[in-house]
């Protein structure tokens, strides 16, 4: 019987204590951030949007090699001798055209291994956070810095070179040599 009243007493007091806690919280500062109007600052390391700056991309394919989910589709073409593509951050001349640098963000797991592997720091995390899109296709970003015109030109040149090479190989009837890393 004593236990019955003790239980009752504990019940009443703990309920009142709990009510006091919630009551106090009524007057504490709010933590809600009204997102579109108030912005939360992002940290410099935050993995927000994956961006490749093709003009300083050296086509080393490190990103593609370390990616655990294989989101990269990279097509490059070797620059012709004398063609000036600018310099890479390490001071060496850029030797490859980036015909295609497709990142399928719908597959990306935001692990950041690729950004870490990028020697030229052309692949970066940039802010703000990626915007939502209406179609999964829109998540396929292409970061090639070339115009359609330039791409067509380089492609045609590549094809012509390949055809010439194949013809030469056929003519020589020799075992084919490893092709240039034009196709990833």
């Amino acid at each position: 019987m004593a236990g019955y009243f003790t239980d009752l007493w504990i019940g009443v007091t703990t309920v009142l204590q709990g009510m006091w806690v919630t009551f106090v919280h009524l007057f504490q500062p709010r933590v809600t951030v009204q997102y579109p109007r108030e912005q939360v600052p992002m940290y410099s390391r935050t993995r927000a949007t994956l961006v490749n700056h093709a003009e300083i991309c050296g086509y080393c394919l490190s990103c593609k090699r370390v990616c655990p989910v294989n989101i990269f589709t990279i097509v490059g073409a070797r620059a012709e001798t004398g063609e000036d593509l600018g310099l890479l951050p390490d001071g060496k001349p850029k030797k490859m055209h980036i015909l295609e640098f497709k990142i399928d963000m719908s597959k990306c797991v935001y692990c950041g291994l690729c950004v870490d592997a990028c020697d030229t720091q052309s692949l970066r995390w940039e802010q703000p956070q990626e915007k939502p899109v209406f179609s999964r296709r829109e998540l396929l970003h292409d970061f090639s810095d070339m115009t359609e015109e330039a791409k067509r030109r380089v492609r045609e040149r590549e094809e012509a070179r390949k055809a010439a090479k194949a013809a030469a190989a056929k003519a020589a009837a020799a075992p084919s040599t490893p092709s240039s890393p034009s196709q990833s």
Binding site: V15, M19, T22, F23, H25, L26, R30, T32
Partner: protein
């Protein structure tokens, strides 16, 4: 025979429906705001400008426009009818809520009895909803609800007996009228402690009556998903929601009328007597009544956002082993008191 009472009744019904709708809109918004502020959040802020005041209105629009889904395997007729039965049950009881001395649906002399009887028909609607949904979770919710509401009728009726014994009347208006003259004349504070105990028991038991936390096991979200209205959507769901809030106000109104002085102002000076100005009295009376009842609704919300939920057997335990013996002893003592002090 004059048509005046009929016209008054029709007007009153229309008024009450409007009042319920406005109150529900307000209370749902308030519930969101109260819960949000207790949890350091803001709650709705966008719709309608100032603190999202019209958020519930927008939700209501959405519910009205939604498709009325009826499961193929459901009992079609019962499924359609159940929300209305629930609503009618809680709505009919409003007839005896005394908003003011001259503002009451009908001042029948068995008001309290009528109220207890009519409000318990809600359980039929809930059972219908749970059964007709043809869903195991809904069935569980309905069975729990039935068990809970029927059980809690008893402490509710017993604790209402206390003021009745003291007033010697079953009429709601009579129960209010004896509390005239300032808050120290209110039933809850007079003849201490019997009406006070009855008040506490009634308030807690009424939480079970309206399925509010900690007694919300019929719709226990984490166990029964949504309980008896799991299959309902659109307007029919809104009816359940509306009747839940109507019920919340109803039980708070009963507490107000029976224990907290009804339409009497806390101080006699603040009151406008019906004899001076009928309209003025009706307005101030309804105002005081609503203020008190809404404060109790706020208390219900406060409890809901503080406490965990009880289990089915503990719920019954509290009803039969705590509330019931206390109510019995209370009624017994108050009868003795009434008999001796006469």
């Amino acid at each position: 025979m004059s048509l005046a009472p009929l016209v008054f009744s029709l007007l009153f019904v229309a008024g009450v429906i409007g009042y319920i709708a406005v109150f529900a809109l307000l209370a749902i918004w308030l519930e969101r705001k109260v819960s949000a502020h207790m949890q350091d959040r803001l709650g709705p802020m966008e719709t309608g400008g100032w603190h999202g005041w019209s958020q519930t209105l927008a939700d209501l629009m959405k519910l009205l426009l939604k498709e009325d889904i009826i499961p193929t395997a459901a009992d079609n007729f019962l499924f359609r009818v159940a929300p209305y039965v629930v609503f009618v049950g809680s709505f009919a009881a409003w007839a005896v809520l005394p908003f003011a001395a001259n503002l009451i649906g009908t001042n029948i002399n068995i008001g309290v009895f009528y109220l207890v009887a009519v409000s318990s028909t809600v359980v039929i609607g809930i059972l219908m909803a749970g059964w007709a949904s043809n869903n195991k979770w809904a069935m569980y919710g309905a069975m729990r609800s039935a068990a809970q509401m029927v059980s809690y009728e008893i402490p509710i009726a017993l604790s209402l007996l206390v003021p009745i014994l003291l007033a010697g009347s079953l009429s709601m208006q009579d129960l209010v009228k004896i509390q005239a003259g300032g808050f120290w004349h209110w039933t809850v504070l007079r003849n201490f402690p019997f009406p006070f105990i009855a008040f506490v028991i009634y308030f807690w038991a009424s939480l079970a009556e309206v399925n509010r936390t900690p007694f919300d096991i019929p719709e226990a979200e984490s166990e029964l998903v949504a309980g008896y209205h799991v299959e309902y959507s659109g307007m029919r769901f809104a009816m359940f929601f509306l009747s839940e809030y109507a019920n919340m106000f109803l039980v708070s109104g009963v507490v107000t009328a029976v224990f907290l002085g009804g339409w009497h102002a806390p101080l006699p000076a603040l009151e406008i007597a019906a004899e001076t100005s009928a309209l003025g009295h009706a307005i101030t009376g309804a105002m005081w009544f609503s203020i008190k009842a809404i404060s109790l609704v706020l208390l219900q919300m406060w409890l809901r956002w503080t406490l965990p939920r009880l289990r089915v057997d503990q719920l019954m335990h509290i009803c039969w082993k705590v509330f019931l013996p206390f109510s019995f002893v209370n009624v017994l003592l108050v009868s003795l008191w009434a008999a001796l002090s006469r």
